[in-house]
């Protein structure tokens, strides 16, 4: 595996890993909730919250939505 170039890149990559782990945990929770819960309204509500959280994390951390209004960072 090639080495990472700069300290800045390492920080960014580590943040990515953290976000990915959080997403993975949420997915597992979704699955467990789905197989163990019987009440449909509660299930729908919980899944909606989990999916919303995952969507938020991906758009904010992976897709950098804030660059839309903050502009491109100078390097």
């Amino acid at each position: 595996m090639s080495t990472l170039n700069s300290a800045a890149e390492q920080v960014a990559q580590r943040r990515g890993l953290m976000v990915f782990l959080a997403l993975a945990v949420l997915t597992v929770i979704e699955y467990i909730v789905a197989v163990s819960l019987d009440s449909v309204p509660v299930l729908v509500a919980l899944l909606a919250v989990a999916a919303g959280a995952k969507c938020w994390a991906i758009t904010v951390y992976f897709m950098h939505v804030s660059k839309l209004w903050r502009g491109e960072e100078a390097h």
């Binding site: 595996m1 090639s2 080495t3 990472l4 170039n5 700069s6 800045a8 890149e9 960014a12 990559q13 990515g16 890993l17 976000v19 990915f20 997403l23 993975a24 997915t27 979704e30 699955y31 909730v33 789905a34 197989v35 019987d38 449909v40 299930l43 729908v44 899944l47 909606a48 989990a50 999916a51 995952k54 969507c55 991906i58 758009t59 951390y61 992976f62 897709m63 950098h64 939505v65 660059k67 839309l68 903050r70 502009g71 491109e72 960072e73 100078a74 390097h75």
Partner: protein, 194 residues
């Protein structure tokens, strides 16, 4: 040399012509994704309209969890690729692009397998939702793989490396994340209800 402008709070923003162009392209891409997302949302809403929250008991739940995890992991490698390219790390970025493509193809293979073993037909209410939604999503997966492959093929000489040069990579990766976001909603909608 990049032109910079310092905003309040001491944050530096690239104000060069290239950065301006990236900003314009970025808004265009996001608007396109919002528009595309509305199409997916309409199909998801239709699922509840015609089939309620019912799902087919014949679904292979482990397969569903498997391909979902795979797509999530590919989003992570896509993130690694983009980050590497923006920080000038061409070789690692290209490797991560290939990894993303590979997992994208495996996801697609998973959907095809799922279709081939499905014990329900598209003419049932749930089947209508399942086949149309996964089919539309799989079409986006294929186009995403195509863009990522194109980026991999063209990034060898380093022309997409560093700062604003990496925009084409970033665009393909943002598109890929969007495909993942759609699945974030489609997975519970299609697999996890009862």
């Amino acid at each position: 040399m990049a032109a910079t402008a310092t905003l309040p709070h001491g944050r530096e923003v690239d104000s060069s012509h290239a950065a301006r162009r990236v900003r314009i392209n970025r808004l265009g891409l996001w608007l396109f994704l919002a528009s595309d997302g509305a199409l997916f949302a309409l199909f998801a809403a239709s699922r509840f309209y015609i089939a309620g929250t019912a799902i087919s008991p014949h679904l292979n739940q482990l397969l569903g969890l498997g391909i979902t995890s795979l797509l999530l992991l590919s989003s992570f490698t896509a993130y690694r690729a983009e980050t590497a390219f923006t920080h000038g790390n061409t070789s690692h970025g290209r490797m991560m692009l290939l990894a993303t493509v590979l997992m994208g193809l495996m996801f697609f293979g998973g959907v095809v397998y799922e279709w081939s073993i499905a014990e329900f037909s598209p003419s049932e209410a749930y089947g209508t939702a399942f086949f149309s939604m996964t089919g539309m999503h799989a079409f986006h997966v294929v186009t995403g793989v195509f863009f990522l492959l194109l980026m991999w093929a063209r990034s060898g000489d380093g022309k997409f490396t560093g700062g604003t040069n990496a925009w084409p990579i970033a665009a393909a990766v943002i598109y890929w994340h969007f495909v993942d976001v759609v699945w974030v909603f489609f997975y519970p909608t299609l697999y996890l209800l009862k």
